[in-house]
Symmetry: D2
Subunit: 403 residues, 4 copies
Amino acid sequence: MDFRYDERTQELQRQLLAFMDEKIYPAEPFAAATDEWSRPAVMEELKAEARRRGLWNLFLPDPEHGAGLTNLQYAPLAEITGRSPHLAPEALNCAAPDTGNMELLAQFGSPEQQKRWLTPLLEGEIRSAFCMTEPEVASSDAANIATRIERDGDSYVVNGRKWWSSGAMDPACEILIVMGRTDPDAPKHLQQSMILVPRDTPGVEIRRGMHVFGYTDGAHGGHAEIVFDDVRVPAENLIAGEGEGFAIAQARLGPGRIHHCMRLIGMAERGLELMCRRAVSRTAFGKPLAEQGVVQEWIAESRVRIEQLRLLVLKTAWLMDTVGNKGAHTEIQAIKIATPSTVEWILDKAIQAHGGGGISQDFPLAQLWAAARTLRFADGPDEVHRRSLARRELRPYLSEQAN
Amino acid sequence: MDFRYDERTQELQRQLLAFMDEKIYPAEPFAAATDEWSRPAVMEELKAEARRRGLWNLFLPDPEHGAGLTNLQYAPLAEITGRSPHLAPEALNCAAPDTGNMELLAQFGSPEQQKRWLTPLLEGEIRSAFCMTEPEVASSDAANIATRIERDGDSYVVNGRKWWSSGAMDPACEILIVMGRTDPDAPKHLQQSMILVPRDTPGVEIRRGMHVFGYTDGAHGGHAEIVFDDVRVPAENLIAGEGEGFAIAQARLGPGRIHHCMRLIGMAERGLELMCRRAVSRTAFGKPLAEQGVVQEWIAESRVRIEQLRLLVLKTAWLMDTVGNKGAHTEIQAIKIATPSTVEWILDKAIQAHGGGGISQDFPLAQLWAAARTLRFADGPDEVHRRSLARRELRPYLSEQAN
Amino acid sequence: MDFRYDERTQELQRQLLAFMDEKIYPAEPFAAATDEWSRPAVMEELKAEARRRGLWNLFLPDPEHGAGLTNLQYAPLAEITGRSPHLAPEALNCAAPDTGNMELLAQFGSPEQQKRWLTPLLEGEIRSAFCMTEPEVASSDAANIATRIERDGDSYVVNGRKWWSSGAMDPACEILIVMGRTDPDAPKHLQQSMILVPRDTPGVEIRRGMHVFGYTDGAHGGHAEIVFDDVRVPAENLIAGEGEGFAIAQARLGPGRIHHCMRLIGMAERGLELMCRRAVSRTAFGKPLAEQGVVQEWIAESRVRIEQLRLLVLKTAWLMDTVGNKGAHTEIQAIKIATPSTVEWILDKAIQAHGGGGISQDFPLAQLWAAARTLRFADGPDEVHRRSLARRELRPYLSEQAN
Amino acid sequence: MDFRYDERTQELQRQLLAFMDEKIYPAEPFAAATDEWSRPAVMEELKAEARRRGLWNLFLPDPEHGAGLTNLQYAPLAEITGRSPHLAPEALNCAAPDTGNMELLAQFGSPEQQKRWLTPLLEGEIRSAFCMTEPEVASSDAANIATRIERDGDSYVVNGRKWWSSGAMDPACEILIVMGRTDPDAPKHLQQSMILVPRDTPGVEIRRGMHVFGYTDGAHGGHAEIVFDDVRVPAENLIAGEGEGFAIAQARLGPGRIHHCMRLIGMAERGLELMCRRAVSRTAFGKPLAEQGVVQEWIAESRVRIEQLRLLVLKTAWLMDTVGNKGAHTEIQAIKIATPSTVEWILDKAIQAHGGGGISQDFPLAQLWAAARTLRFADGPDEVHRRSLARRELRPYLSEQAN
């Protein structure tokens, strides 16, 4: 057992921290000033600079297309980008949902699909959206997805309604990956498929952006409600084969959760840093907040909880690298359960230490909080994951009893 | 001891519930569609209708100007308006900060001040703002207020910077009540005064609206940052006398907190109602949420906590009526400590039961949550009130020990 | 609505507080010194004195046998006895389980049963136990009770195993009220009956006292595991009629919960008082605990929570008096859910403020804590009550949906 | 970074788990039956067997006297012993406070001291106590210790009062290590010394055992209150030199906390195991607890929290091994803050799942809970550690601000 980051990771951490200090943090106020659905003006400069520094596509384990890092190597880098989650991930071409979509195309896409969509995504020229969640069903169980994808000659025709399609409000978003049912009569886990739908295909109606506690989440390309009304795409747009949608979705979720959780830890570190700065600079009742017991408890608890979360996420990354996503299933659920709610707690305390300013646009805290709160739902609410993890924990006892 | 509402209260509850059902709830979607800083188009109709029904100025205990209700009679009515806090309070001319400002003018204003400002406020023709909090100081201690109000001939000249001046973004807002220091050399509690500043006075610069999470809180007239730069008003605009600002602020806070807390309880009831509706209509893992233990715990805990909160607020109202605001000091603090955080918890659970929809514009929950969260700061953060209440609790033990 | 205690209650409060100060608190150290299963030596003196002062059988609403107080009048008196729960309730002849047993006999007992058992209980000459919970079944659902009571000629024969039969370890305990099945084929709620079993009847085996976090709870007569092996009693020992056990149990539970909850509030007040005394007398890191923010938060939260609990319990008592136990069903559940866990929290903080002493025999806190913790189970665990209360809350929404 | 236990650790884990299954768990009921202050009869057999299997003195990193394991290697073994904390640690000669005392003697004892006391302790022939905490002062700050150790000719004379001297009630306890002030005028951290006091020295009065909730904690040798009244011991009994008491205490605490925390994790695993067994075997409301959402949440949360705690403790052990106890200071505090309260929470839920049985002597849960609760005080209450950790976290911000 060894808790040291390896050399390459440490080197990349140094480079990335320098990039944050020199480029990202200074760009933050500019970023805030841009309008709703376009990426901040400074973004193209940041991307060019990140690329120049070799901080590009770090998320992709496939060395042909990406940096070839393991999950364990990438995790601490994703954490650092989480300190400025509205700028840094995209600047490094490591922003959701593009990362998951690129992994998916690298792993399951045909050469033609890769050439047409993966290449411009890897170049940071376009963005993409992942259309899975539906308003009418509990989408945490993928088997419930009701959108239809029907074969008709050389085409597939898509009909359905999606929401929380993150990224789809971004004008640069050109491609949607849509999950839907190709065969409602197949066994439950073979009914679903995934298909590539260019955003400008006739019949694709981007209805509106969903709000997140008043935010449009423009820097993330928003969260669209989309209606697919007889949307026809060539048959070769299907990813892998019919009935493979569920399996692809499962493959996509593991790394996605690791990335989310590591960025959340970066958000928590940012919140704790801001809380400490506030504590040493603000006085109430004749002494700095830093000397008040209640604020000290918040700071100590935040530190203790962050350390625990980070170790659990890193161990999960290590398990994914050594025994595979399936072997790490329980741990992946565990980090999904523990991280958003804990980080939400930390950010709440950081907000409280800032008084009214904390909930306003003058600090990033309220927006970070909303992001953490949202992740208590993303990929299924906490309750679903706890239920599932408990059933796994109980399994040996049930077997024992059955004998 | 008797826990029954009196006859008049019960009659008003019936009338107000009918008004909610017939007019307010149906207007909610329209209200959401209007633009940021103007009141919803339907508002004037709602106000006219409320007035016609005798549901007007219920908050004002002074029978000459208002309904002449006691705090105990008004509290359950304020609760009902809290079920639709962006429409109902204003429709009844019972919205903050106007209520506090009207009370203040009714109690401390000169006949001329009352004629010029109280009358149109009571008529619902204009709105007002209360300018107390400042960005540079911990304003929970009113003695810290740094804005200057200086006598110069027949005028006072105001210089300073305020924020969280609720209501001031509303185009209908015509008058600001500003707290500031007239005599920095006086004893601490005699330094402050309050003065009436028409919003269009030269030197008044409304800088921007503060955001609350991502909301502008337009329906409440927003929360302005305002700079006062050599703002000159006639000397007769001073309220009561020089040095009375602190005493007036104290008098204003007690009823304000009761109103806030009762509306919060209405918000919690609304949240619980939505949670129950969702629970009976949404199925996950093969059975309705209503039959799932975790959701049942949320519902039960919400009910149990609401009942406790309501009783504490009602007792506080009763104390204010029977022994005065000063005698009810501890209880006023207690409800300020208990209510926002508890209601925040209930709304969080209601959101969680709604999945992604819960944090979006499709339900009122996220916005209600943000309002509850904000009230953990308003009139001083929870921590300040807990500290103060504890010191009072400890006082007899300290005396005992001193002897 | 009126939050004042009535005159008689206030007068009894004054008398009881004087009795606590003059007799009960001074007796506490002596009480601790006595051996395990016998009542403290001083108890007979305390009982005589309480009786002399008219503080006797206050719990019994029936004016023929008891003080004739309403639930609302008795509740604040029960609270006061909770401040010294190992001495005061018994000193006033108001200790569980005797109170419930006396109510039961007063309401359902035959004249002969009353003469034989109720009279000596009312005189404080003997004690009693209530034998309901069984180790093998989830006894929170009374319908699960498996003990058999079978008619055989002029006798009933009892067979079964009970535990947590509170009071049965006390040498003064002479009578057991046993719940068991007389007719397993009857409809579910008509299967059970209650019967009087003298503790010295052949076949009654008191196996052992159950421990409560290391305590034997000797002052309460312990909690016995009892085996009934062909225990034969005369047929006239049956209470009311065959099949009425469930109804009697329901009638017994409401007042029992009110009493428990009010005593718990007294325990919380005692804990808060001790926490405050400690806070003003103990110094750490150069200043008294009373000036440390974390301890101030504990004190403030304790006070705020106690006030809410008390009001909810009082309102429940008022409802029982005005609309009956059945009409107060939801509120009775609500206080059972809220009170033990909240008081446990307060006592935990009081313990923490005392350092190591807090968990030891040097303060009553650890024992009070164990009592509060135990009440999270008594009459069914919190989870059962929350489930039931939620189902009631959901009922109107389910009906609405069904239409 | 690597999360695998090394080979030697894995081999010892296998051996120790076998020993638990074959010897320890079967001995548990016998152990419970023995009387208060003597070690269970079976203990000598268990010790002989552990020794035979090479599972002896595993805690001692010094290869001359012990197993020569690193902290990181020993930690997972300590965890396993925590599953039966009243038997296993002593069976392996790895029980507190002997472990800390042996380390202390191995590191700071003179050859004579080692021969006289360390050898029989390593052989498991005698037991020892550590006498630091005092009733009159906040002993979490060691500088407060008031007991006097005064030189008088060839002797030292000890006067003072200690409590919570763990182990001292055990008849096998022969030696006390006492901390006290040799020079009240020295700088704060040089006033204290440690000295060896045979338990049968005249003037040593073992007053009583402190209770922990209702437990005497007999299996751990209890927690004594001891008065030292002119207790005279030879000068050579002083450990190291005058004024070194504080430094020795610091050296002793780090490993002590690691051991406590690892055993606590074992206790949590035991609690979770019992909760799962109960969940699959107990039915309420028509289905097993294992299928009820609330119980599933407890199980999932327990697993998620245990995983995080264990990783934090293991990382702390690794830091102690690689950068020393001083370099691991923050992490040692972090585990002390996080572990007892989290394990207490898990055990509380396990108890709740067991109904009344959970708080009784029929399951180990209540006793495990009491042990976890106690550790929220041992070596200073949580609040002290949080305060200290926060100050460390704030230090860089304070420096930054100072510049």
